[in-house]
């Protein structure tokens, strides 16, 4: 039943390193692919999103890379910082109306 497959489940990166999280989706009802960031005890919040008329979107240290033919997209965090330690969720279209989230990736950035 899983429409959005996210990997890895957990990720440990050294400070200054690159964190990469991947997502694969099935439904292509509409084009909007966001990543959300969740800190403990808080609700998720939008981090960055792409509408894939482009294959890449960059905002500061965060980049989404999109491969429409493969139905995959990824989040890259450059120069990872301890403050980036959080759980990251991708989301993708489910049907004509709404979206589903991936299972989440718990990122730990070690100082």
């Amino acid at each position: 039943q899983q429409q959005v497959k996210q990997s890895p489940q957990s990720l440990i990166v050294q400070k200054g390193g690159i964190s990469i999280i991947n997502c694969a989706y099935e439904n292509t009802a509409f084009d909007y692919f966001p990543w959300y960031q969740q800190f403990p005890g808080k609700g998720p919040a939008l981090l960055i999103a792409i509408r894939p008329d482009v294959s890449e979107k960059k905002e500061g240290r965060f980049t989404i890379s999109f491969n429409k033919s493969a139905k995959q997209f990824s989040l890259h965090i450059m120069d990872s910082q301890p403050g980036d330690s959080a759980t990251y969720f991708c989301a993708a279209p489910y049907n004509n109306n709404d979206m589903r989230f991936g299972a989440g990736t718990r990122l730990t950035v070690k100082p």
């Binding site: 909007y32 609700g43 939008l46 004509n96 109306n97 709404d98 989230f101």
Partner: protein
């Protein structure tokens, strides 16, 4: 401006009791979502409202779960005859539209069933 609010923030109940969880979305947002997040787990979709109607109820785990939305605003998630496996954080999100739009999440209600 005001974000999505949820109440109560914490709820402890005994097995078999009914509970009601409330969500106040951002004013003017037509779409509203309920999710469940078990400890350390992902976001399990429960139900989606567009206005007061629920086009997608497919995530409700059993007939003990129900939800309504009134006036295109406040939503209530009701869990009848609670079970221990219902213990989780229940998150509400709202969105100006549904497809292709940002979901704004509330802080969640932590439900503990003893």
């Amino acid at each position: 401006g005001a974000g999505v609010s949820q109440s109560p923030s914490n709820k402890v109940t005994e097995k078999g009791k009914d509970v009601e969880l409330r969500c106040d979305p951002i004013s003017g947002h037509t779409a509203l979502y309920w999710y469940r997040q078990s400890l350390g787990q992902g976001l399990e979709f429960l139900i989606y409202f567009q206005g007061n109607s629920a086009p997608d109820k497919s995530g409700l785990p059993s007939d003990r779960f129900s939800a309504e939305r009134t006036g295109g605003s406040v939503s209530t998630l009701t869990i009848q005859r609670t079970q221990q496996e219902d213990s989780a954080v229940y998150l509400c999100a709202s969105s100006p539209l549904a497809r292709g739009d940002t979901q704004y999440f509330g802080p969640g209600t932590r439900l503990t069933v003893l």
